[in-house]
């Protein structure tokens, strides 16, 4: 079975909605048309939007994301300020993830454990 990931999610959305327009499908899902359109182009939305799309596709969001189980102390709390829409390209999402983890390791982890 092919593993479902963020890129295939966009393709599954396109396949499921078929002739249904982006606007109508987005309304059914409960998100904006712009957000659905970006997800179908492979952009990464916030988790709540993500879960709504997964529900619509009858998918387990945890399985799609492949969330890594981590110790509570190693999960940084983070707020991100986006310039425009709250979606990211996969490459930027990955680079931001790496930056958050690196900064957390360097500046905050010692204090968490101490």
């Amino acid at each position: 079975m092919t593993k479902i990931n963020l890129e295939t999610l966009g393709r599954l959305s396109v396949a499921k909605r078929g002739d249904l327009g982006v606007r109508a499908a987005a309304q059914k899902i409960g998100i904006s048309a712009a957000t659905l359109s970006r997800v179908e182009r492979g952009y990464l939305p916030d988790l709540e939007t993500f879960r709504k799309i997964c529900r619509w596709l009858n998918l387990d969001s945890g399985q799609v994301l492949g969330l890594t189980p981590t110790k509570p102390s190693s999960i940084p709390q983070v707020t991100v300020h986006f310039k425009k829409a709250p979606t990211l390209t996969p490459a930027t999402a990955q680079a931001l993830g790496q930056m958050v983890l690196a900064a957390h390791r360097a500046w905050l982890l010692t204090e968490d454990e101490g």
């Binding site: 890594t68 983070v78 958050v100």
Partner: protein
């Protein structure tokens, strides 16, 4: 859009922060000093130890999609700014992040996927709007705007003086109605 009284509260906070820093109500307020007063460390992407070059390059190249990140472990917060942005833009971005802390917004939990991507739990539009408004007030409070208009200071000079962008000065002048207040003061017909 905002809860009743929020805008007045923001002006009060802007005045309080200046008083605490020994400044007059219309003086420019350096975001780095506000960060220091709040105990928040500020860094650029280049200063993150252990960040691989490929990630650093992506974050600089796709600079349009993110401005700043605040990371907290509950007791300590650090802000990482996008160093590809102008000083004025960075000042606004930093004030925005600090505004989240001053208002007391609960930081959104982040998850890291198997491939190491960052995914936010939720994106709170209302919190972003509140932080934007307070950041604008902290950089350019009403007292400063009144002074700018009464003195006839040009937009770009005002922007330089207050470490903000010209767009931010224009935005604040428009949304606060300060221009109108100076042109048509109360009691005059």
């Amino acid at each position: 859009m905002f809860e009743r009284g929020f805008k007045t509260w923001c002006e009060t906070i802007a005045a309080q922060r200046r008083r605490a820093a020994g400044l007059d109500p219309r003086d420019p307020l350096d975001p780095l000093k506000v960060a220091a007063a709040l105990g928040v460390e500020v860094h650029s992407i280049d200063e993150v130890p252990g960040l691989d070059d490929a990630s650093r390059q992506v974050l600089v190249q796709d600079s349009g999609s993110w401005s700043a990140v605040t990371i907290t472990n509950g007791t300590k917060s650090i802000v990482i700014l996008n160093s590809a942005h102008s000083n004025a833009r960075s000042a606004s971005d930093l004030m925005h992040e600090l505004a989240h802390i001053v208002i007391g917004h609960e930081p959104g939990r982040v998850d890291i996927t198997e491939d190491g991507s960052l995914i936010l739990n939720t994106y709170e539009r209302s919190q972003e709007d509140e932080a934007n408004w307070l950041a604008g007030c902290l950089l350019l409070p009403r007292e400063a705007l009144l002074w700018i208009v009464r003195r006839g200071i040009e937009l770009d000079s005002a922007a330089r003086l207050y470490g903000a962008s010209v767009a931010m000065v224009e935005f604040r002048l428009n949304v606060t109605g300060v221009k109108r207040q100076v042109k048509y003061p109360r009691g005059r017909r």
